[in-house]
Amino acid sequence: MSRLIVDGLTVTLGTLSGPRTVVREVGLTLGEGETLGLVGESGSGKSLLWLGVLGLVPPGAVVTGSARLGDTELVGAGQGQLADIRGRRIAMVFQDPMTALNPYLTIGRQLAEVVERHHGADRSTARRAALDLLDRVGIPDAARRIDLYPHEFSGGMRQRATIAMALLGRPDILVADEPTTALDVTVQAQILDLFAELKRDGGLTQVLISHDLGVVAGLADRVAVMYAGRLVEVAGVEDLFACPLHPYTQGLLAAMPRVDRPGVDLLATIPGQPPDPARLPPGCAFAPRCLLADDGCRHAPPVLAPVAPGRQVACRKVGAP
């Protein structure tokens, strides 16, 4: 069963220098209990895609297309309805936990407030619920820490607290946007373990947005790769890492130095620079950096087409069956 169906989603930002389309015709389905990894470099539109789905785009931005959650259409829905959905059905966790936490309230107070608002619980029930969740996200000695302020938490604990806050409304879908990028590796490993646990406990559909293929590899069931606002490849995680089809995915994997292998002389690189979203080429956005590109690639953008069961690639050089 599909929880969320995104179709033809396009996000255009209004900037001083004119409109700029940053997400182009993205189509995705999210199955129940599935973990989707969304990979892309900075400026690929991977975060804005979800901000567009949840109606969190900056003022002046235009979202078109469709994103259906069950029977509810999210694109064009009223802010009141979206706010309700954001709390209870799709929750988001961001890179910098401090932006999600109010520095003037204790962690416990902030969590309890959400419970009181969403579930109409009284103060002591809400506090108990908050405490349970802090325990669940692995905050040691939660009974004492619940009365601390955000600045008294370490970076990893703050991120745990924001995850707890996201889980408070018992959402169906958790969207985590670069949740470990600001953390040290040893702490990142702990947070990734927490996501793995949430996944094992079942039910929760997760979207893990990251620039780091390593972060996605261990957690995701499926991976979607974005480049210049478009999906270029969607595949099961094993397939994608074992046999990437799109030249960009191939380049990305080859360009990563490996901690588990001795250094080679030269890293494989993708030549050139990431494209300026304001001046995309008419054809495939990756064509200027692609070794396989020919005139056809430069003229019309490729469509994301199925090439195998559960696999889609947007590349004219990858043969459709």
Partner: protein
């Protein structure tokens, strides 16, 4: 290793954070007795988490931050004993490349002005035309062309700005560059380009690199030797391959285990977080071994006695500061 060009001995850097409202001066010991050597043309990777003091170490060596004690011996001269005036001519051999490539360039200076600044400072004999030629040569070397000369940093992407920063660091052909998280802010595809560029420049000019990074994969790729810092102290130092093949400090093992590999099969099969908790505050470090509060092997002696660096191999190239390095096989990390 041939005669080192840089020998750091027992370096201590402290920051006085001033008096609290009540109570005594609060002093943060960022670097606590670090020693190492660096050979000509060698890359020493310095890894550690935030708060380990790795950036402070790089800046203290370049005397951008004053050190409290110890020696920084550069080609036989202790830099700590030199005044800023005596230090200035030496600076042409000591350069730095920063993490945030855009912030490292003056937003109101053209690319030419930024890259030519070392020439303007150290080569007053050069004419403007000679400088333009030199800058243009280095622009080409780092993969940009002359159209960049009169443009401003904001017109370039992060990767291109980092190339400009590298050209500025290289233009005097220094003997040492401190790379402070030089590729950490870049996207993977651009990161690989810059890593390759640094490696190529080292091969051609024989510049030594102090490559500071939290990214173990990049450090492993570039470094001949690696130094692992924890809370301002050397946990382990050794040749890159020896250190990765046989990590002797439990912290090194934990760091290595924590890196998620871009490989779903390997990632699923492993227990990930070997470590619980986060590094303690350098304002109030634990007694004895700084790592003992998170160490799965910690015993009584770890709390009472600070471990000293012990040689693992016969040549004393691989050193670890751990009381229990001989028991490393008992830890399942």
């Amino acid at each position: 290793m041939s005669r080192p060009i840089l020998s750091v001995r027992d370096l201590i850097v402290r920051f006085d954070l001033g008096r609290g409202l009540f109570g005594p001066d609060r002093v943060l010991t960022a670097i606590d007795g670090v020693s190492f050597d660096l050979g000509a043309g060698e890359t020493l990777g310095i890894v550690g988490e935030s708060g380990s003091g790795k950036s402070t170490l790089g800046r203290a060596i370049l005397r951008l931050i004053p050190a409290e004690a110890g020696q920084i011996v550069w080609l036989g001269q202790d830099l700590r004993r030199l005044g800023e005036g005596a230090m200035r001519p030496l600076r042409r051999d000591l350069q730095i490349v920063f993490q945030d490539p855009l912030a490292a360039l003056d937003p109101r200076a053209t690319v030419f002005q930024s890259i030519a600044e070392p020439l303007a400072t150290h080569r007053p004999d050069m004419t403007r035309i000679q400088m333009r030629e030199a800058v243009s040569r280095w622009l080409a070397r780092v993969g940009l062309d002359d159209t960049a000369l009169d443009r401003y940093p904001h017109e370039f992407s992060g990767g291109q700005c980092q190339r400009i920063g590298i050209a500025r660091a290289m233009i005097l052909e220094p003997r040492l560059i401190v790379c402070d998280e030089a590729v950490s802010a870049l996207d993977v595809s651009i990161q690989a380009q810059i890593v390759n560029l640094l490696a190529a420049l080292q091969r051609e000019t024989g510049v030594a690199l102090l490559f500071i990074s939290h990214n173990l994969a990049v450090v492993r790729h570039l470094s001949h030797r690696i130094l692992v810092l924890y809370l301002g102290r050397v946990a382990e130092i050794g040749p890159a391959e020896a250190l990765f093949a046989d990590p002797c400090h439990p912290y090194t093992r934990a760091l290595l285990a924590a890196v998620p590999p871009p490989d779903p099969v390997a990632a699923r099969g492993r227990r990930r977080a070997g470590l619980t908790g986060e590094p303690p505050s350098p304002l109030n470090p634990p007694s004895g071994c700084a790592f003992r509060t998170r160490c799965p092997l910690a015993i009584e002696i770890c709390a009472t006695t600070m471990p000293t660096a012990e040689a693992i191999d016969d040549d004393a190239l691989h050193l670890a500061a751990c009381h229990r390095w001989r028991d490393r096989s008992t830890q399942g990390a």
